[in-house]
């Protein structure tokens, strides 16, 4: 019913006329109107309905608030369509993303020590250097890989936390807790053994991989200056015999290398223990040490050797035979003989031996 009233109102409009005209002329829809208005309304003359006096049914054309399909298709065909651009789905994420920190750094305003205060794995966005790392089959053709996403740079240890400025800062910070290194020790190397007689050496190992352990880092080398132990002559000889190859005659150093325990600390304790035991054992005097003979000596002595007695005999007889012998030369010869027998034999030493022998015998 409502519809019918609306239709009635609309049909008076010029647009309706226009459309009617556009579609089918002035007569279009009139007979229909008569039909549509219904038999009752058309027949009833008393009713004062707009369409009851034989008017056309005014159709209502409802237009959507958009371009109709026909129009859009026309526009698309002719190429005058309005192309609407849609925004990206990750637009908000991308807006949230910032440029690398290295681009925003200012050397004037910032300090590197604040940016990289401690040792940390390499971060390409933070380090402002144009570092490249990587190998490739043809060296000439390609540059090494850039730092962004470069695992090799991450795997290796970096020392960016140890710039000279950083080190200086550290030193300045702890300076008040330190005393200066004795200048006498720096200038005179011979003082070191007496002041610092023991030196302990060990190594740490770094690996390219997930495993940071290395079994070799447990090895301890302890070098002791034996003179600082202040042993008596017998005790020193006993220590030398006990130590064997660990004692170096020329430098007077005892080197103990331990790796028999699992950790470095244990090995260090063991080394200290060995030194203690050696020291105390060396100072002990056993009863059987009295039985030591000339052939047991570590070094060959001239006094008491058969050579000396033979030489004395020879010199006496040479004198009686008339050769110009030199008896004082015997002591000198004894010294030379000791070095000859106890140190490395060389051609020059043998020549010296010959010269002294001839001088002594007067040949």
């Amino acid at each position: 019913m409502h519809r019918l009233t609306h239709i009635g109102a609309r049909s008076k409009s010029t647009l309706a006329d226009k459309l009617r005209n556009a579609v089918g002329g002035a007569d279009y829809g009139k007979s229909k109107q008569a039909m549509v208005s219904g038999s009752l309304a058309a027949k009833d003359e008393n009713l004062k309905l707009p369409y009851s006096q034989g008017e056309d049914f005014r159709e209502l054309y409802v237009m959507p608030k958009r371009k109709l399909r026909g129009q859009t298709q026309l526009e698309q065909a002719t190429g005058r369509a309005e192309i609407k651009t849609r925004s990206r789905f990750d637009l908000m994420d991308r807006l949230a993303e910032r440029p690398p920190r290295s681009e925003e750094m200012d050397p004037e305003k910032q300090k590197w020590t604040d940016i990289w205060p401690a040792a940390r794995t390499f971060s390409a966005s933070v380090v402002p250097l144009p570092v490249r790392m990587g190998s490739r089959p043809n060296v000439e053709k390609r540059a090494p890989f850039k730092k962004e996403g470069n695992l090799e740079l991450v795997k290796i240890p970096n020392f960016l936390h140890l710039t000279p400025v950083a080190i200086q800062q550290h030193c300045e910070a702890i300076k008040k807790f330190c005393t200066p290194f004795p200048p006498e020790l720096l200038s005179d190397a011979s003082l070191t053994p007496s002041v610092l007689p023991i030196s302990v050496q060990y190594s740490t190992y770094i690996h390219q991989g997930t495993n940071i352990r290395d079994i070799r880092s447990r090895v301890i080398t302890m070098i002791v200056d034996v003179a600082s132990l202040k042993l008596s002559e017998n005790a020193l000889e006993k220590l030398v015999r006990l130590a064997g190859k660990r004692y170096n005659q020329e430098t007077g150093k005892l080197t103990i290398i331990t790796d028999r325990c699992h950790t470095r600390k244990q090995n260090q304790d063991y080394a200290h223990y060995l030194l203690t035991v050696l020291y105390h054992e060396a100072n002990k005097q056993e009863a059987w040490a009295e039985l030591k003979e000339r052939s047991d000596n570590l070094r060959v002595e001239f006094d008491g050797s058969t050579t000396k007695s033979k030489l004395e005999d020879l010199i006496e007889k040479a004198k009686s035979a008339g050769l110009k012998t030199d008896e004082k030369a015997l002591a000198e010869f004894g010294e030379m003989w000791k070095t000859y027998r106890n140190t490395e034999e060389t051609a020059e030493k043998t020549r010296e031996y010959g010269r002294q022998m001839k001088k002594m015998l007067g040949i």
């Binding site: 007889k317 035979a321 000859y340 027998r341 034999e345 060389t346 020549r351 022998m357 015998l361």
Partner: protein
């Protein structure tokens, strides 16, 4: 390079006082003077007859022995070592214990040659000569062994003992009569049947040993004892020349019954030679050569052994041999090489034109690095 000139002059000054001479020295250098008998830097010829008597063919090193055969003469350079030895030999006295000299030096510098020159020198001065070609023969080239009946545990070497006695006989022909006059001090009972009575000439011991190999080792010992005794009594002077002497304290290849290697002190001949070296007799000179052959291992490609006496003799040997005078043999100097070069050219031994040129002369010196052995080898095929 040693400053040869100055040393030559010093040596020459000392030589001036000597009366002993080296026989028939055909001087090859322009500085030869009549009264200086041993002039260092000259070439000296050994007469072939003498060389034959002294059995030089087997005692000299192989290349020189071949030269003797080809050129028909033995000509060697007189160098400092032989001059030193000659001066030491002059010192020998009946009151003085035997003077021990050890020739040492690098390979090819003339130790064996000097030894042979000294033997020749002893010959010309009418000394008795006990010359052992190589002590290595006693320890390592033992063909057959016998256990000693004289001392239990000792090992006799009949073939080597016979060779020693024959060599002694041949080399001492020049004093055979004198040896015939020397008499034994006691009865020697070699075995149940053979004996040499007291106061018989010692030449009989030699004949006994040569005829009966199984007694030879003991004969050697007896002969040496008699020689020492007569030397003490100033009847004769003895030169004991042992090549490769350090082998007397070295490695042996003689196996005992229990299949272990016998130490050198278990071999009779080694014991006899050690007694000859020892200090207890007078009026003699012991000349030994310390050779690297004993110690050097051909299979050890990396190690280089020293050629110094202590290294070669070992501690035990060194203490036995002490006190001794070490005499070093060195490489040639330029003047020595020149003398030798001129000799070869004159003899027509350097055949190729390139070798006779100045370039060749210089190259020969330097290619051989002034080493006498390698110089001779280079000259051999040029």
């Amino acid at each position: 390079m040693k400053p040869c000139g100055r040393l030559v002059f010093q040596v020459a000054r000392r030589m001036g006082a000597c009366e002993q001479k080296i026989s028939s020295c055909r001087q090859f250098s322009s500085e030869a003077t009549a009264h200086d008998s041993i002039k260092v830097g000259t070439l000296c010829e050994m007469e072939l007859a003498v060389a034959k008597q002294l059995n030089m063919k087997s005692h000299l090193p192989a290349p020189l022995s071949k030269q003797m055969d080809t050129l028909g003469e033995i000509v060697t350079l007189i160098r400092e070592p032989i001059a030193e030895i000659a001066s030491c030999m002059r010192v020998v006295d009946k009151n003085l214990p035997n003077l021990r000299l050890v020739l040492w030096g690098a390979f090819g510098t003339g130790k064996t040659v000097t030894l042979n020159q000294a033997v020749h020198h002893a010959y010309s001065n009418k000394w008795a000569i006990v010359h052992l070609r190589s002590a290595m023969e006693l320890t390592r080239r033992v063909k057959e062994i016998e256990m000693s009946s004289f001392v239990s545990g000792r090992i006799n070497d009949p073939s080597n003992a016979v060779a020693i006695l024959q060599n002694f006989k041949q080399q001492n022909q020049h004093i055979w009569k004198i040896l015939g006059e020397l008499l034994t001090e006691k009865d020697y009972e070699w075995s149940k049947s053979e004996r040499t009575l007291k106061s018989k000439p010692i030449t009989e011991i030699i004949e006994m040993g040569i005829s009966a190999p199984f007694l030879a080792s003991d004969c050697v010992g007896a002969l040496f004892r008699e020689l020492r005794r007569h030397a003490k009594d100033d009847k004769l002077r003895v030169l004991v020349a042992i090549d490769d002497a350090n082998s007397l304290w070295g490695k042996t290849l003689v196996k005992r019954a229990d299949r272990t290697y016998a130490p050198p002190s278990d071999l009779t001949l080694v014991v006899h030679f050690r007694r000859m070296i020892s200090n207890d007799w007078t009026n003699g000179c012991v000349l030994m050569v310390a050779d690297k052959k004993e110690v050097a291992d051909a299979r050890d490609e990396l190690g280089v052994s020293r050629h110094t006496p202590l290294e070669l003799f070992g501690e035990e040997g060194f203490e036995f041999v002490e006190p001794f005078v070490p005499i070093e043999t060195t490489n040639y100097t330029e003047s020595e090489t020149d003398a030798l070069y001129n000799y070869y050219v004159n003899k027509n031994w350097l055949a190729s034109k390139a070798a006779r040129s100045e370039e060749g002369r210089k190259q020969l010196m330097h290619l051989s690095a002034f080493n006498p052995y390698y110089y001779e080898r280079l000259c051999a095929f040029n």
